[in-house]
Amino acid sequence: MLHTLLSLVSKWAIPVLLLTVPIYGHMKKVPVYEAFVEGAEEGFTTAVKIIPFLVGMMVAISVFRASGAMDYLSMILDPITSRIGAPSEVLPLAIMRPMSGSAVLGMATELMRVYGPDSFIGRLASVMQGTTDTTFFILTVYFGSVGIKKYRYAIVTGLTADITGFLASVYICNLLFR
């Protein structure tokens, strides 16, 4: 029931927006096509502006992950996190969560394939994937698009939110699904 409703909303959201906004604009006497093109023009320049920031970030994250440094980090953290009820299988996912959205989705998919979506690991991986966002990507892209190089305390705030999200996911999953 809930699934049909949610998939209906996510299926219809974009078509509905693409229909209602231009119709609304037309009713308000906006020259809709001209306005659209005027707005769309900014798309290219903004996307190009973030290239240097994204290259820097993605290279560092990719080297860190491919070298095996991430596996060592999860080995070091495992004794602590297993004590609060997080299985070691989900730890790499937690570490990558702030760094790469696509890597995390791949990891969560793999965990569900191996352990099943209704296992404790599968459910915890799902909740972690649905909690918080890819902090590094957002900071890089958003700050990059306006040329901000000094992020001040934004990075600490974002990462603390990620850690909190991880702890809260572990807590609620142990409460509901254990």
Binding site: G39, A47, V63, G122, L139, R152, A154, G165
Partner: protein
């Protein structure tokens, strides 16, 4: 950021060297550099589409009325932004897209909001208070419909693909509260320091 960047890069290279597979570094670095440009070019079309739609909504006054509706909240969260500034409307669009799980619409709106906040920012390469608050909200924002992960669960024939939605909302709500509070704390601290 400088420290984190250096740390990621340096530990990666040192670990690869100790493991005896240094060639992985070259491959990963060059691959990622190429991948980053591909990500940006994928963004061009989507950005153009959503910024175009947004322009229509803006000229029709839709963004402004949305901003007016949520003004009591946004004024408290962004005390440094004038309450009638266009950035407020764009920030709300970005957060609503995030909540609905429309990631590809959220990014263009978010960048547009940053550009509008940048107009208020005098020191041009340093983040302003409002930007930090916006990103704190953004990175921890509640997703009401985690569509991607539900689809993955469904494809592995989960008995109940949506049972995780409540848990997701619970944990993002907690991380959002922490983020907003921490941002407020940092803001007060840095103001106090300036005095």
């Amino acid at each position: 950021m400088n420290v984190i960047w250096l740390l990621l890069l340096a530990t990666g290279i040192v670990v690869a060297a100790l493991n005896g597979n240094i060639e992985v570094v070259t491959e990963a670095a060059l691959g990622a550099a190429k991948g980053a440009v591909e990500v940006c070019f994928d963004l061009v079309g989507v950005m153009a589409l959503w910024l175009g739609i947004m322009k229509i909504a803006e000229k029709g006054g839709l963004v402004q009325s949305l901003a007016r509706l949520l003004r009591p909240i946004t004024v408290r969260l962004f005390p440094s932004v004038p309450s009638h500034h266009p950035a407020m409307g764009t920030i709300i669009l970005n957060l609503s897209a995030n909540m609905l799980g429309l990631g590809n619409a959220a990014t263009p709106f978010g960048m547009k909001a940053m550009q509008e906040l940048q107009e208020l920012n005098q020191e041009s390469d340093e983040a302003s208070e409002a930007m930090c608050t916006f990103l704190a909200l953004n990175t921890s924002c509640i997703t009401l419909i985690p569509a991607t992960i539900i689809a993955v669960r469904f494809s592995f024939s989960s008995a109940n693909a949506t049972e995780i939605v409540g848990a997701c909302i619970f944990s993002t709500a907690i991380s959002m509260v922490i983020a907003v509070y921490l941002d407020y704390w940092f803001r007060t601290k840095s103001r106090w320091r300036k005095k």
